[in-house]
Amino acid sequence: MSQKVLLNAKEVNIILHRLACQLIENHNDFSDTVLIGIQPRGKFLANRIAKMLREEYKIKNVQLGHLDITFFRDDFRRGDKPLEANTTEINFVVEDKKVVFIDDVLYTGRSIRSALTAIQSFGRPKGIELLTLIDRRFSRHLPIQPDYRGRQVDAINKEKVKVNWAEFDGEDSVYLINN
């Protein structure tokens, strides 16, 4: 197994600030917007962006939720490993809101497809956007593209892109792992 650093902590930090600023450009004071982290790994990125918006850019009403897509996935009973569910925490109505999905890596697009279905259980949003830290180019199975992208990466299928977060993995970094 070999691994290559794609982004270090400093680079991750710069990118997060840029993404936060791009969100502010489009969503002003966030009064009409909700952020939704996609479980399990999108949660960390969503928490980080929400914290940044609140503390560094002084935006008061940032609404943040986490959405689990396990029961909406299209590969139930198809893999060897059973799917394990995570918690969904959406304590607000998404009806008529602008929703921003946040996930760490966009790969085949199937998770986002599931999230698009899952979010409908909470109402009909005015619109949905997608923010992702890593966009794996040329590997999409579905016509889904990010609206806000941290870094575009070319990786072949047997390679894995791993995003680490200080609060969970000990450091902020992104690795390309070759098995």
Partner: protein, 309 residues
Amino acid sequence: MSELSVNHLLGIKYLNKQDIQLIFETADHFKEVINRPIKKVPSLRDITIANLFFENSTRTKLSFELAEKRLSADVINFSASQSSVKKGETLIDTVNNILSMKVDMVVMRHPNPGAGVFLSKHVNASIINAGDGAHEHPTQALLDTYSIRERLGSVKGKKVVIVGDILHSRVALSNIFALQLQGAEVMVCGPKTLIPKYIDKLGVKVETNLRSALNWCDVANMLRVQNERMDISFFPSTREYTQQFGVNKELLDSLDKEITIMHPGPINRGVEITSDVADSKQAIILDQVQNGVAIRMAVIYLLASKIKQ
């Protein structure tokens, strides 16, 4: 550990501690799902489930059907009173005929103990026992212990008394297994005629005085007197049963602690518990019903994930 150790849910005695833990954690997620504005998830849209009820049921049947529909499974219902069973068809033939219509899972209630186990050995489908005679009713025991966990934080170390007709009750047996597996202490209480001989061999305490039992416990699970299963008299009269084994508000208020009251339904109001107890804050009877849907969704989901395509 994210898979059940069994392919069928035939009884609590076939489960281990991790299975129950997994079912509870999955049920937590489904409980959140059924409180959403739209309560349905598409997981089981390629699964067909047959509900075979060879014995009457309202709550369990509705609860299973709702759980199946919330998971987007296709559901067919069958009740013995309107079927060819009356014309002399055997159980295996009945079920195989249904399975030949491409059914993946069978939920069955049957008056004969062991019917689920028997079926699981002869047909090619995942079987969920929804009550087999006086033997087991596993989903009821799971939702009962899940409700205790929800109300009291955990099941471990809690003292639970099961009051009433232990002899004819599948709820009692499954509850004893489920409670003991999760580390609770169990007592049974009722008229001597309705307590099976040798039940102490299961490691439960036996008490015939209701007040002593209630003073001992944290939770009292009040069972219904199953008149339909009694071919002889087990106690002199309903009134006498109520006087000795019925719970009323005065009795509860006279205890030195507040205990939780459960009932698997259907309630005979005024017999095993009075209306003011059934409707009081100490009773979690309606929570049990709500949790029943989440627990059944979890069981069906986890078993369905083991059905290979």
